[in-house]
Subunit: 399 residues, 2 copies
């Protein structure tokens, strides 16, 4: 909606995502309420605050939809295929000429699937198999293959075609029959555009089977989640900003790279991420930096662990403020209450620090305090618009 209103300037916007930030009370206090967060509290007092709804009321988002919303892309219309997410999570690059797949090693006997996961072999073992696939099957019929080794029986495959694929090119069923003692399903293109992809994937299944036929368990491959690059506008096209993604976890930088952000591979923890940001943010208009561990402890059901990680995140705030961004957004991609040991649908606390805010409404930063904020409960896709506005990057609409 903002596209026609974009104007460029020299402002800097930073988005800090504390993954899975939102929580629920245990003994009356949420993780964020229990944490000692003097820096976030001070920011909340002087900023525009509220909560954002990642996808919709009652809808628990995965990390993909959660982040897309923060980047201003409607997570309901911008669907990212399972094959793409798997490939991104394993650190593979996905471009507009690619088809990405999730693959399983499986056990086949007399044409029937005996074990869809090949007995969950050790990762070290399947990693070697995947390296062998990469070496022996680097491509088929001019299509380049890149494999990514996953945990146990899992791997990903990105098939890079010589040119961009037409819509519908990945409309192909899974070969996984979802049950044992059944033959694998033949790949059937659901559209004429998918015929070439199905043909190459069928050849790959055959060649992989020949290569693996002497393996005791992992003697076959099952393919799932055929997907092409989601045809979203790039971040640069949408907002006229050059964007940097600083994330140690491959899936998050993979997501960012899908919309054209610079997403360098970074090793280490948030300390390393922040060092990278400090060294590089001046070259970019927009920088996204990802703090993972709040989500991890929430997923583990570790209330105290999540509290500590929130406190750790708080301790980095002065350093982030020292970069003096024109707009600083601090929020999560979704809630991960430790009592639920998983993502949830609850709106996520949000701070937008910028030059043009009311402020003065909250005592500190928490789910309940943010309800008193000037933003109310907003769709996640509204955050970018308000950040752009505060950065002076949106023209007036109409006269």
């Amino acid at each position: 909606m903002v596209k026609g209103l974009i104007q460029k300037n020299n402002t800097k916007i930073i988005l800090l995502v504390l993954d899975g930030l939102g929580g629920l009370p245990v003994n009356g206090r949420t993780e964020l309420e229990a944490a000692r967060t003097p820096n976030l509290d001070a920011l909340a007092r002087e900023s525009a605050c509220g909560l954002h709804l990642p996808v919709g009321y009652g809808i628990t988002p995965g990390s993909g939809p959660g982040h897309l919303g923060l980047f201003g892309y409607d997570p309901l219309s911008c669907l990212i295929g399972r094959g793409i997410l798997e490939a991104l999570g394993l650190g593979l690059e996905v471009t507009r000429t690619d088809v990405a797949l999730r693959c399983n090693y499986a056990t086949m006997e007399n044409g029937l699937v005996k074990d869809r996961r090949a007995g969950r072999p050790p990762t070290a073992e399947t990693r070697k198999l995947t390296e062998r696939l990469q070496k022996e099957i680097p491509g088929i019929d001019g299509v380049k293959f890149t494999f990514g080794a996953g945990m146990e029986h899992r791997f990903a495959l990105v098939m890079r075609f010589p040119e961009p694929l037409p819509p519908g090119a990945a409309a192909i069923n899974d070969s996984d029959p979802q049950e044992t003692e059944k033959p694998p399903l033949p790949l059937k293109p659901e559209t004429p555009e998918a015929e070439k992809v199905a043909d190459i994937a069928t050849k790959f299944i055959k060649r992989a089977g020949e290569l693996l036929k002497d393996q005791p368990r992992a003697n076959y491959v099952l393919l799932r989640g055929f997907s092409t690059h989601p045809r979203m506008p790039s971040f640069k096209d949408a907002y006229g900003m050059r964007a940097l993604a600083v994330a140690a976890y491959p899936m998050y930088r993979g997501l960012a790279s899908l919309i054209g952000m610079d997403a360098p591979a970074i090793e280490g923890d948030f300390r390393d991420e922040l060092d990278y940001l400090k060294a590089n943010y001046k070259v970019f208009d927009f920088s996204f930096i990802h703090f993972k561990k709040t989500d991890s402890f929430g997923e583990d059901g570790d209330f105290e662990g999540k509290v500590k990680k929130i406190e750790e995140a708080d301790s980095f705030i002065p350093e982030m403020l020292s970069l003096d961004p024109d707009v600083l957004i601090i929020t999560g991609d979704h809630s991960t209450p430790s009592v639920m040991k998983g993502h949830s649908w609850h709106p996520v606390p949000l701070i937008i620090k910028g030059p043009y805010v009311l402020g003065g409404l909250l005592k500190g930063f928490s789910e309940r305090e943010c309800l008193k904020g000037e933003l109310g409960i907003i769709p996640s896709t509204a955050i970018m618009s308000m950040a752009l506005a505060n950065a002076g990057r949106l023209k007036k609409y109409g006269a």
Copy 2:
């Protein structure tokens, strides 16, 4: 939106609708603020609260759209024809093979309508006429007729066809000219699909006119509001839940039966409804129970009467809690401020009691306190999504 995310489990959801719950202040306090409601207040303190907007800002809903929104159906796209509502309100069943109509007894002289309401004859008198129509015209051309006697000049007709009707089958104008000293309008099918229905209805007008021709006033019938079953997905298809509707008033259970809820005829007041619920709710995943009198006193402009009815509703809360539902929703289908003597557009106070809420934000249950709640002001259609989420009945969206 939630359809692809539904997962089943053994949780129970109960929806208590206090009809016309929301109000406006008289001497500074709304009906809900003036009422002594210790049980609702305690619930509000520990639950997710807010207000819901039944149809849209400034839109005053009828009971049909009000309830559809609570059931999670968009009241703007799910339109229920006037003929259907009239038939349901008179206790008639409406299925997918039916056309329903509102009818008036009228006075005709020399081919002109002299009185569109036949002088508003006493209900006891027209009831006999309607019984005679039922006896003498049980059907036409294989289409079965069921009549429902209404107040004064009103009655309803359900025409049951042998098979489901195509879309557009009820696209027929009213025969009521809306003015006196005019001839009734001939029925004109607006689509080819409506020809058969128009033909049968025209034959009915003729036969009813012959049957009534010696009546002093009610010697003719005018037909309005031709409508077919709204093609909405059933509640079970939408949510995977078996649903019970407990409502003594025919229209509410009629609405519920339209979307496939079990809606047994129940005599008596809320005490009887609650007894029925207690005896039967275990067989269902979702139970809707309807408290009518809050609306009735609001419609009468009786502030104190509405206050008393709210207090009566409050007294039943402990019994409802003793059923130990996983999720309990308490709200109204719309507001009926007694100062307005009718429905209004004002958002309606809402409690969602469930396992995964913040709580602790309100002092008690009222329009003004609910503004402090964690839900904010939400569309009525969001209530079901959040109830399903709290009941663990929604899968994650995306990975």
